[in-house]
Symmetry: C2
Subunit: 420 residues, 2 copies
């Protein structure tokens, strides 16, 4: 269960209702027309679960239990969602196989991650929609060389590819007899975590991806049945306040939520930051914070700075960890004894509540999302919730939520730098 609540006021005026109706109609049309593919993933990706089991049966390295580590080579939408789920679930599971990530063209980071792996225990998953992502192909070639992978022979089973049908990477896989999973053309990278991009590595790592998908599917169905209209109201509120509150903060109270924040930052920033149909530069700026740490960093700005931000608190009701502050008294530092014998679970959530109340008193627009506990089902709900919210705000802003034309210029300049 995820519990959604809001502390900002929202009036159900006729103008608001029109705006919500239009956005709802717009994304319903995206769904029904098949123009935008992510809506189908919670249902359709169930087929991948069998396909992954077949892969495990048929792949000698996986089937024999040799593979202990999975190296994911991908960047942006090809890593952020996987990392978000993995970070949250890692402490819950005795994983079958452990995930590692190669996502940056940073030589120190690549060297460090390669040094952690041993070829005989590792499966390499190369993920790129287009198949020509410069970081991904460059790192893949470096890995081939470093681990001496013989793709023409034994090591073709040590590599898996996830890419668009017909992409250069897909053709590569066919050529070398490497197993591939495909992403639909109409699923954008940042909306792809419930496609093969996320489901294949997460299933191989031992997570309950069936429940992840079931839960997302349930929420999506309820949304399109108008049983989750609070999303419409939140989208409307965010859109309407966007001229003044152009920054949307996710304030998440747990270290392991940091990668979920990064996934959100990509989804929100890259989807909504656009030149819209009226040729205006629009967009909302996402920021991820971690509590209680950032109470000692960013909170001052939220409270006393310009009122240009909304804040969404994310917290975990039950950490399933009973670590408590012992009933110890230390001479001269008795002042904080009032939390003695409480669990850290209680403390961190009280800090979240106190911070939320202090923001409300300071006139900041606040809402909250509470994970009853961390599990695949609740993460699945969170993912589809944010994807739907993004699509709705995108419709209200009159942008193309699903493209990213602005990044091409930098790529062109890079190509020229290398004499292309």
């Amino acid at each position: 269960m995820l519990h959604f609540s809001r502390d900002f006021s929202f009036e159900n005026t006729a103008a608001h209702q029109n705006m919500m109706d239009d956005a709802f109609a717009s994304i319903s049309e995206e769904y029904k027309s098949g123009e935008v593919g992510y809506y189908n993933l919670p249902h359709d990706s169930h087929a991948l679960l069998d396909e992954v089991q077949e892969l495990i049966q048929g792949n000698i390295l996986l089937n024999s239990g040799q593979i202990k580590d999975i190296a994911v080579i991908g960047i942006g939408g090809s890593s952020l969602g996987i990392k978000a789920v993995n970070s949250l679930m890692l402490s819950k599971n005795l994983n079958t196989r452990r995930l590692h990530f190669f996502e940056n063209s940073d030589p120190i980071d690549i060297s460090r991650t390669m040094a952690k792996l041993r070829k005989e225990n590792t499966l390499f998953i190369v993920i790129s929609k287009s198949g020509s992502t410069i970081e991904t192909t460059s790192i893949f070639k470096t890995i081939i060389s470093y681990f001496d992978l013989e793709l023409e022979s034994v090591d073709s089973q040590r590599v898996i590819v996830i890419t668009d049908k017909g992409s250069s990477l897909s053709l590569f896989a066919k050529h070398y007899g490497v197993k591939q999973f495909n992403i639909s053309d109409n699923v954008g990278g940042r909306f792809s975590v419930l496609s093969a991009v996320g489901i294949v590595p997460l299933t191989l790592a031992g997570y309950d991806t069936k429940t992840l998908l079931d839960s997302a599917e349930g929420f999506l169905t309820r949304f399109f049945n108008h049983e989750e209209d609070h999303i419409l109201e939140k989208a409307c509120h965010f859109y309407e306040h966007s001229p003044m509150q152009s920054i949307n903060v996710l304030f998440a109270y747990a270290n392991d939520l940091e990668n979920l924040c990064k996934w959100y930052v990509q989804l929100w920033g890259e989807s909504l930051g656009k030149i819209n149909t009226q040729e205006k530069n629009v967009g909302l700026t996402p920021i991820g914070l971690i509590g209680s740490i950032d109470q000692h960093s960013f909170l001052q700005l939220l409270i006393e700075g310009p009122k240009d931000k909304t804040v969404t608190f994310v917290s975990i009701e039950d950490f399933e960890n009973d670590l408590s502050i012992p009933d110890v008294t230390l001479k001269h530092i008795e002042k904080t004894n009032f939390v003695n014998s409480n669990s850290f679970n209680t403390l961190i959530n009280a800090q979240c509540d106190a911070t939320r109340e202090s923001l409300i008193q300071s006139g900041v627009s606040v809402d909250s999302i509470v994970f009853q506990r961390i599990c695949e089902g609740n993460i699945g709900t969170m993912i589809i919730y944010y994807e739907l919210l993004t699509s709705l705000v995108g419709a209200m802003l009159h942008v193309n939520t699903y493209d990213q034309p602005g990044v091409e210029l930098g790529k062109d300049i890079l190509y020229k730098k290398f004499g292309k």
Copy 2:
């Protein structure tokens, strides 16, 4: 060497000159009057180096080489700066002792970090200016209980305290015979990395903190001799554009720069987000990004979204790592072969340059800071540079750069929740 350059235009008008003169005079006065203490740290903290050596000589656990791990228990200004330096230097050094951080009231994180440590190899450093930070005292008590620390006897040498003179934590240390280092009253937490807060743990971990301080001192001296006036111009530009460009992005091209970005976020956000002397809510919003990763996330918003951001690129000229993209051709993915045989060092910096140029072409205000290489000296320069820049912008905004009154409300509410 750090190389500073700017791509935004700046005219040296009389109005600008006045603004810069006033801010310079204002912070010179802070320095000379002794009202603000961080200006003295690069010089004064040299005395700590001897004090730490004496500690090592006199402490049987340190002197015998038993201590392999140092657990830092602190939050906000008591951890961010240490983490920033440690992350950058970790891959350079064969550390004498390894740093670990307890900074959040997150039970999963605390349990995980405790499980990594063994009592006999660990020194615990408790850092809190006030001595009554709820996370810090609660975690400290938990550690005492978990590791069965006997402060009354043998384990008093296993703990070090860093706190304000006369604080509750200082009295605690005196009572139990625990070694303490003090922070001056007039040094705020977020400006404290060059005080005992940073220098003691970093020196114990084996970093060259003398060079860190020397370099910061040199830069500070040059600044007050008007040999680094580019900071004045940047402060003036940021201040003047703050009504429209209220978000200042640090786009850092290396994974290990992430904690430096977090240090910057606290410094900038908490110092400048204030109710100013004219009772206005002012402030600039800091955001840290990592390249090339965030080219696949945030860049679209920078290019096509509202023009409400400045971007400062941070890059490393020489990673001192020669990992190269091998000259491998893979069937069907030849398109990215143009980078073959180049180092990742070359690739990531070309990506940084290309992204910078694409932002300039899109009308974004851009400047750059290049680390010739990562070393203590360059990090020291970067720290004092950003502290001076923050003070200057604070003077221009007419705020108290050094307090954080906004966070008290949440603390009061928290106390009440526990019946205080």
